[in-house]
C-alpha cells in the first residue's frame, strides 16, 4: 500500500509471447530473460537487483532467480497470496512497499507463465478452494465459476452479449497494431464473435482470455535512485491489493460473497481508497489497462473502480468510451489478456508504462495517467495508478 508516490517503474522487460506450448525455453528461463530485459531497459547492472515479487504461486522462486542471475545479495522476496491474476498489481504493490521502506533498492515484479510446461492453468485439480462444494456439480474452470456473476449482472441491469462483444473487439483491434500480440493477425468481427462456440454461458470463445507462454517484468525503485538510470521513471502514484468481506467464499469458491456485491469483481472498496491516495478522480485517468480474464468482468470492473455508475458498465462500453483512439477511456491498448497474451495481467502493467513513455502501438495522445488493475472476481484483487511527470 503506497501513499507517498516515491516509488516508480524504471524498467520494463518481456519475452516474446506465443500460444501455449510453442515456446522452446523453460518457464524459469523466461523469468530470467524478462528480468534481465527490465534491468537492461533501466540501464541497471543485474547484480544491483536485490528483490523479487510475484503472485499466483509463480514457480520461479526468488532464490532460484538470484542463483541463476548471479545476484550477490537478496533483500526482499515476497509473493501475493491468491490465484489467477489477482496479485499482478499486488506484486508491484509489494515492490513499492520494499523500496519505499528501504528494505530493498531495486525490486523486480515479474510473472512467468509457460502454460505448455505446467499444469494447465484453470483446469480442475483436486485441492481447489472449497473443491468439494464445486467439483461434484461440474463447476471446474474459471469460466464457469465467474459466469454466474455476469449472468446475475445481466439479470439485474440488462447487460448483454453485445456489450461483451464490444470488449472483445476493442482488445482484438488494439492487438492488431501490436506486433508482440499473439492475436495480431486475427481480426474479430461482431458476426464472428456471436458465431463462436459457447464455453460457459454467457461466455463464448472470444469472451475468454488466451492461454499463452511468456514472461514479463517491471523494475521498481525510488524516484531518487531512478534519476541515475537510463529511462525517465514512471511514477507509481498509488498501489493497493486487498479484498472485500467474504470473497474467500466468492466466485472461485462457493459463491457466498455478500449478496449486494455478488455481481461485482470484488473491488468496490479498493478502488475509492486507491484513487484517494493518488489524489485523483477517475476522470483524471487518460488510459486504463483493465484485467480481462473474461469480457463480462471487464464491464463490472469499470463499475467497481468508479469509471461509470454501478449497473451502467454495459452502456458505458457500448458508447465507444473504451475504444482507441477516440474514446474517453481507451483500455487494454496492447490487446490485454484477451488478445495480447495471458501473463496474468502483469503485461497490463508493462503496457501502462509504455503508454506513459509514449511508446504504445495504440498510443493515447499526451497520456499522463494510466490506471491498471489485476485479476477480477478473485481475492485479493489489486490495482495501481501510474503517472509521468
Amino acid at each position: 500500500m503506497s501513499t507517498s508516490g516515491r516509488a516508480c517503474i524504471a524498467g520494463i522487460g518481456q519475452t516474446e509471447y506465443t500460444r501455449w506450448g510453442r515456446i522452446d525455453r523453460s518457464e524459469f528461463q523466461l523469468a530470467c530473460e524478462a528480468t534481465m530485459a527490465a534491468a537492461a531497459d533501466a540501464g541497471l547492472p543485474v547484480e544491483e537487483l536485490d528483490g523479487f515479487t510475484s503472485f499466483s504461486g509463480d514457480r520461479s522462486e526468488a532464490a532460484l532467480l538470484q542463483t541463476a542471475l548471479g545476484i550477490p545479495r537478496l533483500r526482499y522476496a515476497a509473493m501475493v497470496w491468491g490465484g489467477g491474476g489477482g496479485g499482478s498489481c499486488g506484486a508491484v504493490d509489494q515492490a513499492v512497499a520494499a523500496v519505499e521502506s528501504g528494505l530493498a533498492n531495486y525490486v523486480i515484479a515479474f510473472r512467468s507463465l509457460a502454460q505448455g510446461q505446467s499444469p494447465r492453468f484453470g483446469r480442475h485439480r483436486d485441492g481447489r478452494l472449497h473443491g468439494s462444494f464445486t467439483a461434484p456439480f461440474g463447476m471446474l474452470a474459471p469460466a464457469a465459476m465467474t459466469a454466474p456473476t455476469v449472468r446475475r449482472h445481466m439479470h439485474l441491469y440488462g447487460t448483454s452479449s453485445e456489450h461483451m462483444a464490444e470488449v472483445a473487439m476493442v482488445c482484438r483491434d488494439n492487438a492488431s497494431r501490436n506486433p508482440n500480440a499473439v492475436m495480431r493477425d486475427r481480426p474479430l468481427t461482431r458476426e464472428a464473435y456471436h458465431q463462436a462456440r459457447m464455453i460457459a454461458d454467457p461466455f463464448r470463445l472470444n469472451d475468454c482470455c488466451l492461454e499463452t507462454d511468456g514472461a514479463c517484468a517491471v523494475l521498481v525503485t525510488t524516484i531518487e535512485r531512478a534519476r541515475d538510470l537510463r529511462r525517465a521513471p514512471v511514477r507509481i502514484l498509488a498501489s493497493s491489493h486487498g479484498s472485500g468481506p467474504g470473497w474467500g467464499s466468492g466466485a472461485l469458491g462457493s459463491h457466498n460473497m455478500p449478496v449486494d456485491v455478488y455481481a461485482s469483481v470484488n473491488s468496490r472498496t479498493l478502488g475509492p481508497e486507491l484513487f484517494a491516495r493518488a489524489g485523483l478522480k477517475t476522470s483524471d485517468i487518460d488510459v486504463a489497462q483493465i484485467y480481462d480474464n473474461f469480457t463480462g468482468l471487464v464491464i463490472m470492473a469499470l463499475e467497481d473502480y468508479g469509471f461509470c455508475p454501478i449497473g451502467e458498465g454495459g452502456p458505458f462500453v457500448a458508447s465507444g468510451a473504451i475504444r482507441w483512439p477516440d474514446g474517453d477511456l481507451p483500455i487494454n491498448t496492447a490487446g490485454g489478456n484477451l488478445s495480447e497474451a495471458y501473463v496474468h495481467g502483469l503485461n497490463h502493467v508493462v503496457e501502462g508504462v509504455r503508454q506513459l513513455r509514449g511508446e504504445s502501438t495504440s498510443q493515447v495522445e499526451g497520456a499522463r495517467t494510466c490506471f491498471v488493475c489485476g485479476g477480477l472476481g478473485v481475492a485479493p484483487t489489486s490495482a495501481v495508478i501510474l503517472a509521468r511527470d
Binding site: 468439494s132 456439480f137 461440474g138 454466474p148 464455453i199 454461458d201 462457493s254 459463491h255 457466498n256
Partner: protein, 127 residues
C-alpha cells in the same frame, strides 16, 4: 475437515447449513468461526425443500475430459432466503439450457449414492 459434517448430513439425505450457535447467522461453506460474532459454537439448520436459482451458467466446454459426455449441463447457484440467503452450488437436473432463468423455484432432489456420497441436486418446482 470443517466440511465433513455437511457431507455426513447429506449421507442421511438432509441438507443442513451451519448456523452460529451464539448469534444464529447462517453460513456456507462450513467454517470454524462465526464471521459476525467470532463464536466457535456451531449449530445446524435444515434447508427448506424449496430454493431459488440466484444465478447460473450452462457449461458447454468440458474443462476436464471426464465431462465430455455431460455437456451441455447447467450449474446453478441455489439460494435459501430464509437462511440468511446462504447459497449452494448445484445443478437443476430437469431443465434444458434455454429454459434456465434467475429466480426459478427449485426443489431438493437427492442423487446417489456414489461411493457412499449423496449429492443435493434440484428439480424445477411445480408451478
Amino acid at each position: 475437515m470443517d466440511e465433513m459434517a455437511f457431507w455426513e448430513h447429506c449421507a442421511a439425505r438432509r441438507l443442513m447449513f451451519q448456523r452460529c450457535g451464539e448469534c444464529g447467522l447462517h453460513r456456507h461453506p462450513p467454517i470454524p468461526i462465526c464471521p459476525a460474532c467470532r463464536s466457535n459454537r456451531i449449530a445446524w439448520s435444515e434447508a427448506p425443500a424449496e430454493g431459488e436459482v440466484f444465478s447460473y451458467t450452462v457449461v458447454h466446454h468440458p474443462s476436464h475430459p471426464a465431462m465430455a459426455a455431460c455437456v451441455p449441463y447447467n450449474v446453478a447457484i441455489v439460494a435459501f432466503p430464509s437462511l440468511d440467503n446462504v447459497r449452494l452450488i448445484s445443478n437443476v437436473v430437469d431443465v434444458p439450457p434455454e429454459q434456465m432463468a434467475v429466480g426459478m423455484k427449485v426443489r431438493l432432489h437427492w442423487e446417489g449414492p456414489v461411493d457412499g456420497i449423496w449429492l443435493p441436486r434440484f428439480r424445477r418446482s411445480e408451478a
